[in-house]
Symmetry: D3
Subunit: 238 residues, 6 copies
């Protein structure tokens, strides 16, 4: 039995609130149950140095957690003077995942920065960040189209992300914190609406997992991603 009483193939309540704050070109509050992340997408009309003059754009991401988004207060990274290894890992993952949703050539020489800030954490903050970040990104791109910064939509597919794992011997989807802290295996999947993979990151913190368990997790992941992409479509009114 899962601590939350959910079935193995049951997602938490997923909510996507667009236009959550007023300044950003795209601004989304995404909730995976008690995990709440503000995702904003900010457009700038320049690209990083290594891309200058190549006629293409860039998508990057930054990630942070409010100090008391967690059960006990974490030190503030700005005060400690550096981002921790986990933060760096997560924001690189988000950036790579969202870049795969966009034809960077079609984007032109613009940068979009997706900031994912966790207001409340209960497991799955990186998967919520990618899934919500996609919607913020889509809104920012819509804003660029409406303001004629670009004329052709550079989005090439939907991107969503889910965690799957093996909890007490059973493969489950969308791990919450009590599951995440006690599962044998934890895998994060980032996939497209065509069922293709953008990222697979599986880690056996305890016991190594077998090819059979891998397959079961991949199957669950596929189902979850399909439902998340439906939620994205619904939110975007598409």
């Amino acid at each position: 039995m899962r601590p939350s009483g959910r079935a193995p193939d049951q997602l938490r309540d997923i909510k996507i609130t667009r236009h959550y704050t007023k300044h950003a070109e795209g601004s989304v509050l995404i909730e995976f149950g008690d995990t709440k992340v503000i995702c904003t997408a900010s457009v700038e009309d320049r690209v990083p140095g290594f891309l200058r003059g190549q006629g293409q754009g860039w998508i990057t991401a930054e990630y942070g957690m409010l100090p008391r988004s967690t059960g006990s207060r974490m030190g503030r990274e700005a005060a400690r003077g550096k981002q921790g290894g986990r933060t760096v890992e997560i924001q690189r993952l988000i950036g790579r995942s969202l870049r795969a949703a966009v034809d960077l050539k079609a984007l032109g020489e613009f940068s979009i920065t997706v900031d994912c800030d966790v207001i409340q954490a209960d497991g799955g903050t990186r998967t919520a960040s990618i899934t919500g970040g996609y919607v913020a990104l889509a809104d920012a791109i819509n804003h660029m189209l409406e303001t004629k910064k670009i004329t052709k939509d550079p989005l090439i597919n939907h991107v969503a992300s889910i965690s799957v794992g093996v909890y007490q011997g059973t493969p489950v989807m969308d791990l919450d914190y009590p599951e995440d802290a006690n599962c044998e295996t934890d895998m994060n999947l980032v996939m497209t609406d065509e069922g293709k993979f953008i990222e697979i990151q599986g880690t056996a913190e305890g016991v190594p997992f077998s090819p059979q368990e891998l397959q079961a997790m991949l199957d669950l992941g596929k189902q979850a991603i399909d439902r998340l992409i439906d939620k994205q479509r619904e939110a975007l009114g598409a």
Copy 2:
């Protein structure tokens, strides 16, 4: 005329939402119009080194802004590797202000950290942080009383904060961003429910201000603080 159409002695809509997130002992969303700040108060049963063994507690504060809480995206302080001078100034002000609300001896050897994170900025983030931070602090202290960590309420007075300024020659209260960016003088007041001062910070970025203007601003400030403390009382159900 004020850009917002408000009267000189008119506050923006003030909203205080308690229990905004679930982990912190005190968690408040405060809104001064479009300025929105999450204030959490976190209790720890130890004090900083310089106070150890002295039988008293400590209140400290940290302040941050989400990168896109503002009109154009600001660099993330955690990524830049240091907190800027403005951030340091503000969080020290919040900390001093809230310490003045508490009898630190009565608090005992506990620390309370008040984190003020700006979700959306439209002027007055520091005054909203102090005013909302007080409510989060009060909730955290209530939690300590309920869980028997302390037996006597160490709160000694209400603390609230407001900005006042001279905008196009007229003293006004509760400056929003368009006013803040264009006023001659900007003063932040932190006061108690007895009409006493905890902090006065007045700055003439442009033209120095006269004793008469100072007095007019202090009078407006007093009115605003009284109304904010009413809002705090109402929120706390007192």
Copy 3:
């Protein structure tokens, strides 16, 4: 009684020594009793990025204390790798205060950096820094006029600063360290020769202060500022 035996409205001995070191365009040793600060003003013919091409100048300030300027040795900020919060607060205050003395348009595209380095501390280092920094700034501007870098004097008023406070129930001016460490209220005023305010920063570390106490402190401050500006005029031979 004040620890030093001074009357409540009595300043410490104030000494201003110009041309204290040889390299800077303005170089002043200012002494408020045992508090000694070297203030140098350095001229550069460029402005920070955010002002480039706007036809105006900039004044900025930096503040430091020699490690053993104080009773017990403080860690060197350069060795610790960052400036502390108090340092940042003070240098921003000095910078804002001195900018109010100058018509930045008339200064043209030059920057003047005022460095205030405390050689010996006994309370009031920030007020001494502003008061002495003004003289160094005036000397640097004179140097610019003499060397024809500018043709019109951009100084628009004198600026001086004093601390006032409530010590054992009595309002006093120019607090030294034993008073500063034990007073109920500490307020730093920055004012012009016309009796107008540039900065008011009052803090009740212990007991909040009343409007009456505020008024008494403002009255003392006005007297002190007038005397300090006389000292500045005398030093500058005006």
Copy 4:
């Protein structure tokens, strides 16, 4: 055709040289073709703070590249004052992978740090680091057994790592730099001698990959891991 002329299922020349430097308890030079990494394992008789008093040990890893291990010189991370995001990601991966080889309870309150320093890079530095790091770790554990620091071997399985990818439409194993820079998909696998997974990290930098491609890569990976573990066994004389 692969740039190196290798068959899709062909590894580069793998060499493992033990006792490469004299100070470390385990010291290995591992070569995957032109990729050369020095892996040292250092034993300390204490554990990080979060594990103290729990009767278990810890394995951690650090990773670095000599500035000119690459085609053009990279800035030295020590000089820039921080480890880059890629470095952090890789060293966390190495640490997690090697911890999965050891029963940390059986290790007792010792820490082993595995340093992987790339002398020459030609693709696959992280997989070489894990594969060679395992041998250094095994040597350090043998040293602990010989010096009676521990009495029971805490190694529970072999761990090795390989990259697999899709290069010009063909799944291949052990990508070198020219392949790595141009492949559609890059996946790093960390597996045990029982064919179980410790880590799967697959990234589609360009085109998302299908479940069929994933399966083909997993099959190649399994073959490669088996051969690498044979090389480890041979090197260790087992």
Copy 5:
């Protein structure tokens, strides 16, 4: 001819002012002509971790320059967030030199930190720092003897330092800035009152120097050191 008109074996005016500031156990202003350095020695009753419990003391040094001690303003190291390579080199040299003046066993478990802060620079700041630092150190040790912290004088010899160089083909002593910036060879000597060497640091920035030139510089250095030690003795009233 030297730019200053001095003879090759002529020192600048050397002045040593003791008790220059009031807080430090030893506080000296040393002047080598226009080079002015404040040297303070601060006593603490604990030693660095690596010496704890070994019954011996430690002498360390820190060095800094006020930003406008030089012809053009240097960035403040505290603001840049790190001490430059030159600073680190110099303060390590000062520390090693002064440690050679003291029997660290006889000092007991005390640390003395000698801070050398350059108020005005005109060449030779490191040699002035060592020569003045010795006097501050002697005063701090006298203070320890007077306050009975130690009962036996741990000073074992005088230590002074001078620069010698080859300027336009002629060996000269005590280089000022115009010479230092244009000399072929620059050597700093640290010697005892018995004519023995503590440090020799010679650098040929331009043309390598011959054994004959080395000998000529050593001879000049010996003369200069003897005169500096006379100045130290005179200042200390010995």
Copy 6:
């Protein structure tokens, strides 16, 4: 007797392996007995800002030690976020020394960075770095001549370096770690093939040394340098 059984004027086995790694324009493994350093020289066609447009080149050096190059593991400087004082001192010494081998005008607007990374340390890492760094530098310059980046050889002399010291009362050359850790005096010499000095750095960590001891060390140093330059010539096939 020396711990190694060597005669006082006996070098350790010196080995110089060119083309040690494949990417750098110059790449050398130098061994002074058990001390092993990889020296690479990297050419870039730009100079640091302070030299831009002056028609001359620059040589700089960086130094590092692998964490377990030493008897007990040292913290990795990249992880600690700064280079230690010893590292900074050494890399500045290497840079100055190698610049003295080159006519920077003849080099033209190119930079050469010599990276010296210690793989295994047993005393004398800085002297090995300079001696091996020279060979890497010569190879990089040869590469520039061959690829027609420059047309005239800018090398003006050989540069090599050796440590000499007084060990148990006897002057010795080429100190290994057991000697280095226990000698009274340690001096590093950098000299040219004409027997001239580029750097002399002598330090009496314990007892000051006499002019006679200095002379004995200089004599030994001269012999050692001559033999090292022979080794360099032999390696370079000259």
